[in-house]
């Protein structure tokens, strides 16, 4: 062997040892690591109210929460409902509709939705029961992205609109509930899975929290619809009933059907619950004209008390001071607008932010006195995460309808919006609605010009906005149903989380 050279050898060993430390440091600084607690990819869309995606997805599934059928043997025509399937794409969509009726086996039939058109599916035809819900699966040659499905529930007290859900969820929350004056409140629960879903139901009233034992481990059979009448579960005569439904296993769809019969409320609503709690919510439909009975219900389904900041804004006329509320765990706190000084009659918006504690669920209830009677509307507030630059609606709007839409620019930057009508001729700008000014932080009502019927439409803004539709009730108590449009998420239209 040649002469041994110590210095180069020692230098090599030293540099190799340094290399170990360097690699370790580089690994710790640069390399991504597993985050076991990271939220699931489906958590975000599942925790939001219904949205729509323009991505080229293979198929979409829409879960229409249910329409009233009138019960066994009912033969009238004022109960029922329909699903409105809108296809804004340039390709034909095919689909399968599976209807779930309490006490019956699921029924399926196929549908075809022509390009840039929409199809109305009768959900009550040929079925017998209390409620019927539906799963509508759509697919197309280039995917089913962009399609929108909403439902209309018909009831003698008036119709109620609701976008269909995108996915089942393991938990649903309702901040508001009402059984006073023998008002009826039904939970309409659909399990579209091939597995039984086991749920636990808890109610929150002014008196506290209740977990009726029959509703603990309550089984939703596979591919079925179940109905729980709140009043029969020991919550009769309550003016405030928050509901929390959690699945021990599986997932499901939950809607609340309300028939208001007094104590300040009248009318009918059938709305989805909130699939998840959030820390930031917007109520953008504030209007104190005529001093309506208006309240915001805040439900904390978590284990820790929530400190919620309530801010009123929307115009210079809003002088109401911010509120700071503590919403205890498993409790509902109701804020009556009548008790808030400084609210103008003009439109205002309310933002609710959880400063400390667990996220909450927020619903907005408004009862307006009409000429002959009163009409109650309930709408789920909108989580900030839903803010988007594009919104879509399957429910059309007739020409000449005043204040049909409310668009709220949640940013601090002025923006513009345009409305496009989607029909057989394609996607066309709605005349007169090509450029709607959206001042920063202000809600803007949009009226549909006369002679312009929008079969289905799309609102596009230059900044993230929230869009709510005011759909007039043609039957029953009348008035308007407040229905959020569907934000287009999952593409360039999705905004960054708004602070």
């Amino acid at each position: 062997m040649s002469r041994v050279r110590r210095v180069p050898g020692l230098a090599l060993v030293a540099s190799a040892a340094i290399g170990v430390a360097a690699v370790d440091r580089a690994g710790r600084l640069d390399a991504p690591q597993v985050a076991p607690d990271a939220p699931g990819v489906l958590d975000a869309p599942a925790a939001l109210p219904p949205t729509v995606s323009d991505l080229a997805v293979t198929s979409t599934a829409w879960y229409c929460p249910g329409v009233p059928l009138g019960g066994k043997g009912y033969d009238g025509s004022d109960h029922g409902g329909r699903a409105i399937v809108a296809n804004p794409t340039d390709d034909e969509l095919t689909g399968i509709v599976t209807r779930y009726v309490d006490g019956s086996t699921p029924q399926t039939n196929t549908i075809t939705v022509p390009p840039r058109d929409k199809v109305v599916v009768d959900l009550d035809r040929g079925v017998d029961g209390r409620y019927a819900s539906a799963l509508i699966e759509l697919t197309g040659v280039n995917g089913a992205g962009g399609a929108v499905v909403e439902q209309r529930a018909d009831f003698p007290a008036g119709e109620s609109y609701q976008p269909c859900a995108n996915a089942p969820s393991a938990a649903w929350y309702f901040a508001d509930g009402f059984t006073a004056s023998d008002s009826e409140e039904d939970l309409v629960l659909t399990n579209p899975l091939v597995d039984a879903t086991v749920i636990n139901v808890r109610f929150v009233t002014k008196d506290g929290e209740r977990a009726p034992s029959p509703l603990q481990g309550f089984v939703l059979p596979p591919q079925s619809l179940s109905v729980i009448k709140i009043a029969e579960q020991g919550a009769r005569g309550e003016e405030l009933v928050g509901v929390e439904i959690r699945a021990q296993s599986g997932a499901f769809i939950a809607a609340r059907a309300q028939h208001y019969l007094g104590t300040g409320r009248l009318g009918y609503t059938l709305k989805l619950g909130a699939p998840g709690a959030h820390t930031d919510w917007w109520v953008v439909t504030g209007n104190y004209a005529g001093e309506p009975a208006e309240q915001i219900d805040i439900f904390n389904p978590g284990e820790k008390d929530a400190l919620v900041s309530v801010l009123f804004s929307g115009s210079e006329a809003v002088t109401a001071q911010p509120l700071s509320l503590v919403v205890p765990a498993h409790r509902v706190v109701s804020v009556s607008m009548a008790n808030v000084a400084g609210l103008p009659e003009s439109d205002f918006v309310v933002s609710l932010s959880v400063l400390e504690g667990d996220p909450v669920v927020v619903e907005h209830v408004v009862t307006r006195q009409l000429e002959e009677n009163a009409a109650t509307s309930v709408d789920l507030a909108l989580p900030s995460a839903m803010a988007a630059t594009k919104w879509r609606s399957a429910i059309g709007a007739d020409g000449g309808r005043e204040r049909a839409l409310l668009v709220f620019n949640i940013t601090g930057v002025d923006a513009t919006a345009s409305v496009a009508s989607i029909g057989p001729a394609g996607r066309l700008p709605a005349a007169g609605l090509e450029s709607i000014a959206l001042p920063a932080g202000r809600p803007v009502h949009v009226s549909v010009p006369r002679g312009l019927d929008l079969l289905q439409y799309e609102v596009t803004a230059t900044q993230p906005v929230l869009v709510v539709r005011m759909v007039p009730r043609l039957t029953g108590v009348g008035g308007k149903d407040i229905v959020p449009a569907l934000p287009v998420l999952g593409g360039s239209s999705q905004s960054e989380p708004f602070p």
Partner: protein, 1069 residues
């Protein structure tokens, strides 16, 4: 008929001084001592001495080779009357000396056969001639003493037992105190110098032409005894002998040749009545020696002997011819010859004599030195006793209760026939199957199963508990190249055994790590020996490359990344060597490593072709989780996979390695640096792999750590060697206490080793996921199915692929057939249409695009989706591994998936939309099978398909089906080689669902008709398999030094340099 030879009765001439003697010297590879040899010959006082020199040229050299010319000039100058002959090539000592008998005419003389490194005393020839006449001997030899120190005895004849084992009579280093100076009969004298009667030599047939080097003297002397001649040693004749054959011929393995020739001689010379007992004795002794040799590092000698016995016996014709020749000489019975031989075992006799001598010496020598020697022996013995005890304790439950199916330790259930059939077929049954060659590893397991007498479970258990032993024994063998100190070797071996790598691999079920751990010392051994290749022949270089290639190839058959790991190790080794000793010292290592890598790749061909593609790296290194495993540097450096107790104790060995670098000198310093560099380089890579520091996936950190473990053991060897040679006895300073502290530190990890062995299964969990998976029935009546495993790549029971789903941790998935995972699923399958379809569906699943994943994967036969979460080994309740983000949520909302089982350990969903693996499709399925779009599948309800076969065996060429008119779908990738024969018609296959294989069964076929599904094996596959088998056999034979054919010796080609004729009567004319 050949007449029996006469007994040599008397020497040729009555007057000793008048007997002509021809001194025949073979000169090869001349050395500085040749002048002394020539001078000694010239100084002989015997008058009738003729000198005959055979000068062997260098391989490939001609007559004008400068070295040859210089040698001949030296001989001519020293002995002008000498007759010179040049020999082309190197046919061997005996065959060359036979030329002397051919060249010299007459029988009335004597041959003095000499090596070129023997210097005779001036009276040596005359003394031997006189004694030959006085004792009426046929062959005599001198007393050989050490060249450098003539007071040290080398040989006074040799004793030989009935198995040909040699008793050297004198002890190593024994001083010449005239204790052996009596003239006496011996069985044999060394060929270095022997005086033999010409007539006897010719009668006996001369040296065996079949023996080139090693053992020619035993063969000749045995035949002389058969003819009744006496063989004697003449101590009054003195000769110095250098005896450095191996040093001068590094490319010739003299030990191996001696063993081979010994066996051949014994089998040829033993009488027919005794040959069978002798064969049994040879086999028995070789077996015992092989077992002992495993621990003493001398197993090779026994294995060569064992191989020689069987090979010689197997060549009946050759053996019979040789025996006929030898037995024809017989004038003396075997009983008489046996009386001349050593009684009992010469090996044992010499061992006992040496031991007795050591004991005597001990009494005489310094008491401190004696105690030191005793301590060394005790240290080595204690280390091996400890390791043996730990091994027995550590594996006892594994042997009794069996190895748990954890990690990669899938049960071996396939017979060697089914493994072989699948291998020959050219259809890889893993996953959904593919028309590519099956992994070489399946064939190797098949071969092992064959030799286990068809017990695959035994192969698995032996492999699990044996690979660690292979590694530890390998380190002991490798230590021999590093140091002559048995204590240092024992320390290094202990260090390697203490590294938790192997028992953590057992606990977590990692074949790849076990294989790498077993191979690393042998790779280092090959690195060490590759430095000699410049002095070796081409065949020797090839043998070394084949040996290393075999090791790499065998491991790569199970862990392909090992090829890359060895290349990096070689670079680190070269770098360390070059920095310490200069670039010139690198010598043959790069060439040997390059050749061995080529060999390893060839040994894995054609399967290795699977890795040719754009995603080759991900296939080689295994599934990329997309994130670091995040175990941290402390656990990586501790070789801690989470199961071992007190694993950080091994960290002290890093300090030991560092101290070795500081205190070692000379070659020990070089070894210490090599160890430290290997440790540091592979620790860096392991850390990088763990943290994914380079942004891409590296081989598994534990596989990389195996070389770090080897480096640590090397550091311990270097330290202990340095303590004996560099520290002890040196001037007192800081090095002594530092080295002492480091030496004591080596023992620290002994405790964790013992503790972890205590449970008898190296902390392997007693139960694992497989017990839960037993609920998934095998071959149920409703049809065969597939299981799709999803989750963290490290937790899947089959080789996973990964899918980038946008989350940090990529989604790992693996597919198995019904029942639990098998050996076939342990290699990542390539990309096929079925794989693409599945990955497409999984992408949609993870992006929430569809609630109908069940329908999308229904044509692939996927009935169950399993998400392992805790396997008790790598993922425990206290430290669970993450499941890819959103996976469980995505599955929860699927419309076709039914929860079959849910616990913290495992989640199983049943796909209610599934179609059996081999299915007669429903009407809806029949229509959907002609399309390839996912949109069609989403709306198609394929339920209602019925199984066309239950018990479909992937990898079998021909299978019976029961078919009806319609479409038969087989959930394997489309290939035109699939055909279905029914009613005498052969139906061609077509792609179905854009992913699978389908057959359109015409309406004319009766319902429930018998059909034959066939996969036509490609001809090239047959050729490849035959070629690969031949390649493995060739590599094994060459690497082990075995030969299919008897080694043909090169013929002796003597070139006449002059026309001088030689006769005994007149001398040179």
């Amino acid at each position: 008929m050949e007449s029996a030879p006469e007994t040599p009765s008397s020497p040729p001439n009555a007057a000793p001084g008048g007997v002509p003697v021809v001194a025949s010297v073979v000169v090869a590879h001349p050395h500085p001592g040749l002048d002394a040899t020539l001078e000694a010959l010239g100084a002989q006082d015997y008058p009738h001495l003729t000198y005959l020199f055979f000068v062997v040229g260098a391989p490939g050299g001609g007559a004008d080779d400068p070295r040859l010319v210089a040698t001949m000039r030296a001989i001519t100058e020293a002995l002008p009357q000498a007759i010179l002959r040049t020999v082309v090539g190197n046919p061997g000592y005996g065959p060359t000396q036979n030329e002397a008998a051919r060249m010299v005419e007459g029988d009335r003389g004597l041959f003095l056969f000499l090596h070129d490194d023997v210097a005779l005393a001036p009276n040596a020839v005359s003394a031997m001639v006189v004694e030959m006449f006085a004792s009426n001997a046929a062959l005599v030899g001198p007393k050989l003493v050490d060249w450098e120190d003539p007071s040290v005895l080398q040989h006074v004849g040799l004793g030989v037992d009935r198995t040909g084992e040699v008793d050297p009579i004198v002890l190593p280093g024994e001083r010449d105190q005239e204790q052996h100076d009596g003239v006496r009969d011996v069985f044999c004298v060394p060929s270095a110098c022997m005086l033999v009667r010409a007539d006897v030599f010719r009668t006996a047939g001369g040296f065996s032409p079949e023996i080139d080097f090693g053992g020619e003297e035993i063969d000749l002397c045995w035949r002389v005894h058969l003819t009744g001649g006496r063989v004697m040693v003449v101590p009054s004749a003195l000769a110095r002998h250098r005896e450095d054959f191996s040093g001068r011929n590094p490319d010739v393995d003299l030990t191996e040749l001696r063993e081979r020739h010994r066996v051949q001689t014994v089998l040829a010379a033993t009488s027919p009545s005794r040959v069978m007992p002798v064969v049994a004795l040879l086999v028995g002794l070789s077996l015992v020696e092989a077992v002992v040799g495993v621990f003493s590092g001398r197993a090779k000698r026994a294995l060569v002997a064992l191989g020689a016995v069987f090979r010689t016996i197997s060549r009946v014709g050759s053996l019979r011819r040789r025996r006929a020749k030898v037995q024809a000489l017989r004038l003396v019975s075997d009983a008489e010859i046996h009386d001349l031989q050593v009684q009992g075992s010469a090996r044992i006799v010499s061992f006992l004599r040496a031991r007795r001598a050591r004991s005597d010496a001990k009494r005489l020598e310094n008491r401190i030195a004696a105690a030191e020697r005793e301590k060394r022996a005790r240290t080595t013995l204690a280390v091996f006793a400890f390791l043996g005890a730990v091994f027995v304790v550590g594996v006892r439950r594994l042997v009794i209760d069996g190895v748990t199916f954890v990690g990669q330790f899938v049960p071996f259930t396939e017979s060697w026939r089914s493994l072989g059939a699948a291998y020959r077929l050219g259809w890889w049954p893993g996953g959904f199957g593919s028309a590519t060659p099956a992994p070489t590893g399946t064939a190797l397991v098949g071969v092992a199963t064959f030799f286990s007498l068809g017990n695959p479970a035994a192969v698995r258990t032996v492999a699990v508990i044996g690979l660690g032993v292979v590694g530890v024994v390998g380190m002991w063998w490798f230590g021999r190249d590093v140091t002559q100190s048995a204590r240092a070797r024992a320390g290094g071996t202990l260090a390697y055994a203490m590294v938790p790598l192997h028992y953590e691999a057992v606990a977590t079920g990692r074949w790849s790590v076990l294989a790498a751990y077993a191979a690393v010392p042998w790779v280092l051994l090959a690195f060490s020996r590759a430095n000699d290749v410049l002095t070796a022949t081409a065949s020797d270089v090839m043998r070394r490359a084949l040996r290393l290639g075999l090791v790499i190839g065998a491991v790569a058959a199970f862990e392909p990344s090992f090829v890359a790991v060895v290349i990096v190790a070689a670079i680190a080794y070269l770098l360390a060597t070059a920095m310490c000793t200069g670039v010139r010292s690198l010598r043959g290592l790069p060439g040997v490593v390059a050749a061995s890598v080529v060999v390893a790749l060839l040994l894995n061909f054609p399967w290795i072709g699977h890795y040719v593609g754009s995603d080759w790296w991900s296939l080689v290194v295994g599934a990329d989780p997309g994130v670091g495993r995040g175990e941290g540097i402390l656990r990586i450096l501790s070789f801690d996979a989470g199961r071992a107790a007190f694993a950080p104790a091994i960290l002290v060995l890093y300090g030991v390695g560092a101290v070795a670098v500081v205190v070692a000198r000379e070659t020990r310093f070089v070894w210490a640096v090599r160890g430290a560099v290997l440790t540091a380089v592979f620790a860096s890579l392991a850390v990088a792999s763990d943290s994914r520091a380079f942004g891409f996936s590296l081989p598994e950190s534990a596989v990389l750590s195996s070389f770090a473990a080897g480096g640590l053991a090397l550091g311990v060897i270097a330290l202990l060697d340095a303590v004996e040679n560099d520290v002890r006895g040196a001037r007192f300073g800081w090095r002594q206490p530092l080295a002492l502290l480091a030496t004591l530190s080596v023992l620290v990890p002994v405790i964790p080793l013992a503790v972890n062995a205590a449970d008898g299964r190296w902390n392997q969990p007693r139960s694992s996921l497989d017990t839960l998976l037993l609920q998934l029935a095998k071959n149920p009546d409703e049809g065969d199915y597939r299981v799709l495993y999803l989750g963290h790549p490290d937790l899947l029971p089959a080789a996973p692929r990964t899918l980038d789903t946008g989350s940090s941790l990529q989604l790992g998935y693996a597919v198995t057939d019904d029942g639990i995972a098998t050996l076939f699923t342990q290699w990542s399958p390539g990309t096929t249409s079925t794989v693409r379809t599945l990955e497409n569906a999984l992408s949609h699943l993870m992006s929430g695009d569809t609630p109908r994943i069940g329908r999308l994967i229904a044509p692939l036969g996927v009935r169950y989706l399993v998400i392992p979460r805790i396997d008790g080994a790598r993922s425990t309740r206290s430290e669970p591994m993450a499941v890819p983000d959103g996976l469980v949520d995505a599955l929860r909302v699927q419309l076709d998936l039914r929860r079959q089982y849910e616990s913290d350990d495992l989640l199983i969903y049943e796909n209610t939309a599934w179609v059996p693996t081999v299915a007669q499709l429903s009407t809806a399925g029949r229509e959907a099978s002609t399309t390839a779009g996912m949109d069609e599948l989403v709306l198609a309800d394929l339920r209602g398909a019925t199984p066309a076969k239950v018990g479909f065996v992937p990898g079998r060429a021909t299978q019976r089906l029961e078919v009806s008119p319609g479409v038969v779908n087989i959930a394997v990738p489309p290939s035109p080689r699939w055909t279905l024969s029914v009613d005498g018609r052969r139906l061609a296959s077509r792609p179905a669902f854009g992913a699978t294989t389908a057959f359109d069964v015409p309406d004319t076929v009766m319902p429930a008709s018998r059909a034959t599904l066939r996969y036509d094996r490609p001809f090239l596959q047959v050729a490849f398999v035959v070629g690969q088998f031949a390649m493995w056999c060739f590599a094994l034979f060459v690497a082990l030094g075995l030969r299919l054919r008897r080694r043909r010796l090169s013929p002796v080609r003597v070139e006449r340099n002059d026309e001088t004729r030689i006769t005994f009567e007149t001398g040179p004319r």
